[in-house]
């Protein structure tokens, strides 16, 4: 249960990245399947080579940004469809990730990672590490909230919302698109780097299907916590990431096989997409109704 919360908060960082592309930019970016692993691979191989873990983690995030830039350039300058641009980068990254790691699995068990202080003090799996993870995720959330409210951030929001309009006010939407993809994939790769250190290894297949986890977090979170303002949405995304992990936790506890998790993820996303449309969630007392009541009062 505690591990599920920890993982939820860790993967929440990735979900924030997916939120930036999927919701803010209105761009379904599949690069994340690759860039997550790239972040893990870069961080892990640097740590193995003796680079301090925080530096290696940041380098992992930076490598994700590069992956995002590649997708962005393919999409804007190359005029390749967004989905295909993401797939192309994702597939190419598979080979690159193997090159970076040199083999398909890179263990970090005896290395000094950013998780080592927590592990050595026996904090992992306890309330303190949950608190630390939560603070870290919230700091990133508030950084994103702030960024999106700046002049530059607003022009990114407008790029996803009405590209023609924001170009007519002098914004180079190619630049804002590439920048958002870079930031998004940097967050995803940062998450990959942290997850690798948390679980003690980087694996070339650790990113497969990750986009669904991100989408599930964003969609579940926003289905439960309504509100279009950025700071509500980013909070909802973090909550969604935690709920997703709890669902997985209970599914495993109920006897399902870890191999079934991809199927469960897909079913979850479909359910989160369809149920609100069928009015199911509307009947469940939720924040949505509380919100409405608050508005009426």
């Amino acid at each position: 249960m505690n591990a599920a919360l920890e993982l939820g908060l860790l993967y929440g960082i990735m979900a924030l990245g997916v939120y930036l592309t999927f919701r803010v930019l209105n761009f379904p970016d599949l690069t994340v399947d690759g860039s997550f692993t790239t972040g893990a691979a870069v961080a892990a191989s640097l740590i193995v080579q003796g680079v301090p873990a925080p530096v290696a983690t940041l380098a992992g995030a930076a490598s994700g940004a590069v992956a995002g830039i590649v997708t962005g350039v393919l999409y804007t300058k190359g005029r390749i469809d967004g989905l295909l641009a993401g797939i192309l980068t994702m597939i190419a990254l598979w080979s690159i990730n193997l090159r970076i790691m040199g083999k398909s699995n890179l263990p970090l068990l005896r290395e000094d990672t950013v998780m080592t202080p927590l592990r050595d003090n026996g904090l992992l799996g306890g309330p303190w590490s949950i608190l630390i993870f939560a603070i870290f995720a919230l700091v990133l959330k508030f950084a994103i909230d702030w960024f999106l409210s700046t002049d530059l951030g607003l022009s990114i929001q407008a790029t996803g919302n009405n590209e023609q309009m924001i170009r007519s006010f002098g914004v180079n939407t190619h630049f804002t698109t590439i920048l958002t993809l870079a930031i998004s994939n940097a967050l995803v790769a940062l998450c990959g780097a942290l997850v690798a250190q948390y679980q003690g290894f980087a694996d070339v297949s650790m990113g497969i299907g990750l986009i669904l986890v991100g989408l599930a977090s964003v969609i579940i979170g926003q289905a439960i916590i309504a509100g279009r303002s950025v700071w509500v949405a980013t909070f909802a995304v973090l909550v969604g990431a935690i709920i997703y992990r709890l669902v997985i936790f209970f599914a495993l506890a109920a006897g399902l096989n870890p191999n079934d998790m991809k199927l469960i993820s897909a079913v979850l996303v479909v359910a989160a997409l369809l149920l609100p449309r069928w009015g199911f969630l509307k009947r469940v007392p939720s924040f949505r109704q509380l919100n409405r009541r608050a508005v009426r009062a």
Binding site: T150, N162, S168
Partner: protein
Amino acid sequence: MLTIDHVTKTFFPGTVNERVALNDVSLHLDEGDFVTVIGSNGAGKSTLLNIIAGKIAVDSGDLLIDERSVKRMKDYQRAAYIGRVFQDPMAGTAPDLTIEQNLALALRRGQRRGFRLGVTRARRERFQQELVALELGLEQRLKARVGLLSGGQRQALSLLMASFTQPRILLLDEHTAALDPQRADLVTRLTKSVVERDKLTTLMVTHNMEQALRVGNRLIMMHEGRIILDLPEAEKQKMTVAGLLAEFAKIKGAALDDRAMLG
């Protein structure tokens, strides 16, 4: 101010769909000119605006703003000089952002956008002052999402956003055509007051001849990619809708006669 110098644009050249949208068009606007453009469908009015805004590249000819060629500038680069209101009331604003966020975006026209907060207290006060002029009560609803506004309100807001930073040129592309008569009238009045207040150099495309005569100091009629009539202020004031229709029939008839002769 704005000079269009022998501009030609052909769509789908070399195919059966080949269509000459602009045929050797030249036009010069002086500082503070408010020109209305009329013409039938496919006359090239919208192409003319798209070419000025940089949405469409010219085949030949040149475009100058303040004596500087802008032909090779991208649309978002030209936006530093050009404000634009589209026909579709949904096109000129970002629906998921609030009124104040939309205005903040418009405020930075042509300027660098960095890490300063988009909506500050000082800016909000300015936005409120600007919105009061619209007389729609929007100054009370700064935090409302623009998607919640009616078409007329959104178009009025688009007009304000396109003009309040005083761009060198204001392009209006049938911006009242999608509104009901009452709202269209409101937006027309706002257009007049906005343009007159800041003496904006304006090019307004319209389907509505009555509107074309009511506003502006010069009227242009287009037909089949050419400017076929150019009325300066004095003549425009004397002109009537019936007079315009008669002019149009006369010129169109002449064009048809030519073709019949050639055929």
